[in-house]
């Protein structure tokens, strides 16, 4: 795996040096131009300029929910990923059940399930007087985190399994417990190896957060639906929404590429 990544970065570097005419990122240039046109059209029109405030609010919420949900998913995913490599059959079975269910159900259904089943149930049990039900932010975070924890668990699992058995044997032979071996030897190496994959899942989650508009969370897509679509020029409006997601994804994928390069040219 690491050999592949190294080969990849080497050719990337070659490309960077001799930015040949045929391979220049024209698609990026085209995007930029289209974006500027859209943006200009919006700014030059009174009605659309007012929509910008909603869009700014939407983006903020999109980012906030994604970051919060991702943080939760990183932790829950790690626990479930550890369960997936556990020798204890009960823990393994529970973790596998979770992963298979969450990956087999569409995220939109998980979102509705969180909104209409889990949250009312928590409210009931803890007698919060529907406080949670009204707090759609928490619902959104829980739904995204539960769904993505399953994907992240599989990423962790693959990383853990990619660490050679000799590493944990060396650790055990020094007297480290199973837990210490995981904590100090296997996990640090595994996480380093899967950082790019974890990053890609964050991008995927950011895009999937658009599904939360279905339960009325006022993130970016929600404003697209309510404000932009209601106005006359849906073409421009939806373009703006799409472009904003695109910019976020592209920026993040640059970060992931940078991490990829660092980990593969690192000290292994």
């Amino acid at each position: 795996m690491s050999a592949e990544i190294e080969a990849g970065t080497r050719s990337d570097r070659g490309r960077g040096l001799s930015l040949s005419f045929s391979r220049a990122p024209y698609w990026l240039i085209i995007l930029l131009i289209l974006f500027l046109i859209t943006f200009y059209a919006i700014l030059s029109s009174e009605t659309y300029a007012s929509a910008l405030t909603f869009i700014a609010e939407g983006i903020q919420l999109t980012i906030a929910i994604s970051v919060a949900a991702y943080a939760v998913a990183l932790i829950v995913g790690l626990i479930i990923g550890l369960g997936r490599v556990s020798k204890n059959p009960i823990i393994y079975t529970l973790a596998t059940l979770y992963v298979e269910v969450m990956r087999g159900v569409p995220l939109l259904v998980i979102i509705f399930y969180a909104q209409f089943v889990i949250m009312p149930w928590i409210d009931d049990v803890l007698a919060f007087q529907k406080a949670l039900l009204r707090n759609t932010f928490i619902t959104g975070v829980i739904a995204l985190a539960l769904g993505y924890a399953a994907y992240l668990a599989e990423v962790y699992r693959a990383g853990i399994e990619s660490i050679e058995r000799g590493q944990s044997e060396a650790a055990r032979s020094l007297g480290m417990s199973h837990f210490q071996t995981m904590r100090y030897i296997v996990l640090p190496q595994a996480v380093r190896r899967v950082l790019p994959a974890l990053g890609n899942d964050f991008i995927a989650m950011l895009k999937d957060s658009s599904l939360l508009s279905a339960i009325g969370i006022t993130e970016l897509t929600y404003w697209g639906k309510t404000k932009v679509a209601a106005s006359a020029n849906t073409f421009l409006g939806w373009n703006t929404v799409a472009f904003l997601y695109l910019i976020l994804s592209l920026l993040l994928s640059l970060v992931v590429k940078w991490i990829e390069r660092r980990t593969s040219s690192g000290r292994r």
Binding site: Q167, S173, M176, R267
Partner: protein, 239 residues
């Protein structure tokens, strides 16, 4: 000491009723063809492989018994692997101090002091801050030996410690092992380095197909092997 050790992998019998006693301060060499069970035998001694049958007693502690804390026992048994198995994400110094701190409970300072002392001993004090990937194979194996020694083990196990090394690096590792032997460390060494066997070992064990075929002191063993299989094997590796 081990008694009646049997280990199977599926149908394959890797160790067939092996009895072996290692005395304190002794250097025991194990030789034998590939697949004869040498590694499995070593790995049973610190329970990286759990035998199907038999008893293993280390310094009065029986490994199979419920009361034995396997992690405690392993801390007393140092192991050096063919492929070094240094931790690539840690510096040389961290490789040697980690287990001292989290297993032995030593302070960072104390662990570092011991680590630097051992790096001195294996001849690479200047590499403390390097990462394993920046070292040659011979240097890595010496760090691996230092890492095991830092736990102050009662016995050291070596599984073909020089067979992954380029010829010019073999000597630097063997020299470290020779020093250890002279200091009276109890050692079990799987290796076909006959020079080391002659210079340092007290007894040689020849294994074939999961059994101990012959055991003897090096003088007699090389000049006058008792079994036909031993003779055939020796004639192969001595040339």
């Amino acid at each position: 000491m081990m008694q009646g050790i049997t280990k199977r992998f599926g149908k394959l019998v890797a160790l067939d009723n092996v009895d072996l006693e290692v005395r304190r301060g002794e250097v025991l060499m194990i030789i034998g063809p590939s697949g004869s069970g040498k590694s499995t035998l070593l790995r049973c001694i610190n329970h990286l492989e759990v035998p199907d049958k038999g008893r293993i007693v280390i310094d009065g502690v029986e490994l199979n018994s419920k009361s034995a804390n396997i992690n405690k026992v392993r801390a007393e048994v140092g192991m050096v692997f063919q492929r070094f198995e240094l931790f690539p994400h840690l510096t040389v110094l961290e490789n040697i101090t980690l287990a001292q701190r989290i297993v032995r409970g030593r302070s960072q300072q104390e662990a570092e002091r011991i680590a630097r002392q051992l790096l001195e001993k294996v001849g690479i004090p200047e590499k403390a801050g390097s990462y394993p990937a920046q070292l040659s194979g011979g240097q890595q194996q010496r760090v691996a030996i230092a890492r095991a020694l830092a736990m102050q083990p009662k016995i050291m196990l070596f599984d073909e410690p020089t067979s992954a090394l380029d010829p010019e690096m073999i000597k630097e590792v063997l020299d470290v092992m020779l020093d250890l032997a002279r200091e009276g460390m109890t050692m079990v060494v799987v290796s076909h380095e006959m020079g080391f066997a002659r210079a340092a070992s007290n007894r040689i064990v020849f294994m074939d197909q999961g059994r101990i075929v012959e055991m003897g002191d090096p003088g007699v063993f090389f000049t006058n092997p008792q079994h036909e299989r031993t003779r055939a094997f020796l004639s192969k590796i001595l040339h």
